[in-house]
Symmetry: C2
Subunit: 454 residues, 2 copies
């Protein structure tokens, strides 16, 4: 039994997971270049000892890929497991209650950057695989591909897939990098949003100016940037960029009906994140807004004097990081162009605007009629004691759409994250209970997959 | 002759000025606390050796005050010289071409923080005084008061004046802390703008959120802050805060006429600061906008992820530093209240707004009929070879209004700064030529003041 195996091996497993977490593999920060390589090697060692016949740290255009495989029967179906070993930056560091790269167990949860996203969740896949190999229960082939650039938009993965189509050939892709409605409301993610992400630089005067001598006579680039950002959404919470909604598919009535029946306590939602009101596009519920509808957020902004006290200055420059979440059928490159052009168009006189498109990707929908989806559903039922709800989620894993495009394979999203795991935030954590249930669910996916067929 | 005296003593004078500049007396940054005291002591030594009978570094509620006096005849009029020994922060440091606290002479200009504002300009007052004492030419009494908190709004000066009214008793106040229209267009400042300055903190969710899971469903505090800032000015460049213009006096027709005759090349103005268009309140010229009309600027903004690359986050908080320049008759405390209340009123649902009023002060107007103004005018005529134009300027020296209120004394603003001196900006500088002409002008002010009477 998998539960017993987990119990007997848990101490070793945690040592293994912690050794992965201790490597600060932050892909967006250049000083962690060496850590990326160390982390890839650590993963390949883990996959080898978990039972892979072949493991390889492979070069890509960016950070290396970790590839592993166990071919039990060339004529049997193949499951390709995808995960990522890179993590988000940890800033603001002062908000962490313990070192983000020194995992600490408090109240039954592992606290660390990557504890969930995605070291913890990919580890679930690795340990289910280890169990099946060790017990001789694997009837189909399993491949692993772990990348080190997911948090910066997977810039190298598409060309890597193009170049290694044969190596990555599979019948279904399995990913643990999503979250469930709650610990008591298990769910499988059947849809993801796409993403476009820009950095905007607004330049006014060629140097910082004294706000007394020049104030009122020249356009201040911060004021200009604020005007531009403010104008991107209207009073109804809709995005004002012309053409933005052209390819947005209306949420089907049946799906809205289903969403309306998901147990959801808006008061609890608000109190969990500490806000006194929700906000969003008029005519849609909170669950629709954060999963089936596009969104626009400024993820960062900076310019002028930001130190202690007062400095009376009109700065030369102001910057922002802007992102939109997209729904299936919206094309991230088209949106990138529309928004980029719109920002130039709305730039006030007296400033110059530079828009850098940092990255993007498409949304995804998984049909719940897929046999592999049924296997996942049954795996969750064993682990959680109830059938998981199929739900679309608001996050983006652009590579899922790319896999479908390049490899022609659908993906099953078997993540067991929780909102309270605080991924991308200070004090990211992962409950030990979810780690155990995740391994159980994935193990049973593989067992049922042989029954359900491709 | 003063010109000859300057020539013979210039090398020593520059050594003295440089020793002042080398002390990084940044009043807004707490780590420079010791430097404030060092700088005050350095000034008192300089004033002593320049000929003061009495010098004292006096405690205040904040940084110490430097007081000095030379009483030649208790029945003669008294000129009180005001200046400040604190300087602005130097950030962004990477834009400086030389160390801001190691003065360097290039192309006949001293480059350093404080070279103009206000170490260089206060030094002019000190050296004119030194010359007059050394030559036995002083017929009236001279007092000096130098503070160390001008750049943070002079929080301790008003109560210091209240407590030392007798000590500071004077007939006229003389200040060199303003700039002229240009090196070839000498001018005397006859008006200043007031100021109100706030820090605003907008809090949305209680932690940074994943923009995929929450995007579209909660108000993003950066988006909220941008909306609030954008809404503070309208399409006509007017400030939208209710009541803001209530006490604004229309610029008198004669003054607009005079301003219209000031030689001003808008193309050159734009090219000097590198913008392709000016911007401001509809119905007013650039020179009116930056001197006689109020203005609103965001001097700094920050929030969310501001590092390299992309981080998809809805931050918990966003911050901004906001300032308005005020015109005479506007009350900075009233404006502080109006803007603070307005910001609370326009805060979107789903965020909380905290407004801290950092500092402020009133505007000032000096009548050109004042005998002391005439003495300044003649002093400038000797130094620059032409009669200076009386002009209102856009900067703020709130203490000028306070002097009038507390000490009942008018101020003559004899600054010889230039726009190109880049005060408050990287590469602040002060031309040696202006240093020499400034000393000449102030020397002759004192000589003519005895003729013109109080």
């Amino acid at each position: 039994m998998i539960q017993q195996y987990i119990e007997e091996n848990e101490s070793r497993m945690l040592d293994e997971l912690f050794s992965l977490i201790r490597i600060p593999s932050v892909s967006s920060q250049h000083e962690h270049q060496e850590d990326m390589i160390r982390c890839a090697r650590q993963w390949s060692d883990l996959l080898k000892s978990a039972g892979a016949d072949r493991v390889e740290v492979m070069p890509s255009d960016g950070n290396p890929m970790v590839y592993a495989e166990k071919i039990v029967d060339p004529s049997a179906p193949t499951v390709l497991v995808y995960g990522h070993y890179d993590v988000m930056p940890v800033e603001p560091l002062e908000q962490w209650h313990s070192n983000p790269f020194e995992p600490e167990i408090r109240d039954g949860k592992i606290y660390a950057r990557g504890a969930d996203d995605d070291k913890g969740q990919s580890f679930i896949q690795c340990k289910a695989f280890e169990y099946l190999v060790s017990q001789g229960l694997l009837r189909h082939n399993v491949k692993f591909i772990l990348e080190g650039e997911e948090e910066i938009g997977s810039p190298s993965l598409e060309s890597f897939c193009e170049q290694h189509k044969d190596l990555l050939r599979a019948d279904i892709i399995l990913v643990s990098d999503t979250s469930m409605l709650s610990a008591s409301l298990p769910s499988l993610t059947t849809g993801l949003r796409g993403l476009s992400y820009w950095q905007v630089e607004v330049t006014g005067p060629n140097r910082d100016l004294h706000s007394g001598h020049f104030g009122g006579a020249v356009m201040n680039p911060i004021n200009a940037l604020c005007q531009m950002i403010a104008s991107l959404t209207d009073a109804d919470g809709r995005i004002t960029v012309p053409g933005f909604y052209d390819d947005v598919e209306d949420v089907p009535a049946e799906e809205r009906e289903m969403i309306a029946h998901i147990p959801f306590d808006e008061e609890q939602y608000k109190s969990a994140i500490g806000v006194d009101a929700v906000w969003g596009e008029k005519g849609y519920s909170t669950l629709e807004r954060n999963s089936c509808r596009p969104s626009f957020d400024c993820c960062g902004i900076w310019g002028g004097y930001t130190g202690e006290g007062a400095k009376t200055v009109i700065p030369s420059k102001a910057f922002a990081k802007l992102s939109t979440r997209l729904v299936p059928h919206q094309d991230s490159e088209k949106i990138a162009r529309l928004v980029g052009e719109h920002l130039q168009r709305i730039a006030p006189q007296g400033v110059k605007v530079k828009v850098d498109y940092l990255h993007g990707g498409e949304g995804y929908v998984c049909p719940i009629s897929l046999p592999a989806y049924k296997a996942a559903e049954r795996g969750f039922e064993v682990a959680f004691g109830q059938r998981p709800l199929p739900v679309r989620r608001g996050g983006s894993i652009p590579i899922i759409a790319t896999f479908e495009k390049v490899l022609g394979v659908k993906t099953i999203l078997m993540g067991v994250g929780l909102e309270s795991n605080a991924i991308h935030s200070p004090n990211e954590n992962f409950p030990l209970d979810m780690l155990r249930k995740g391994i159980t669910a994935v193990t049973h996916f593989h067992l049922f997959y042989d029954e359900c067929g491709k």
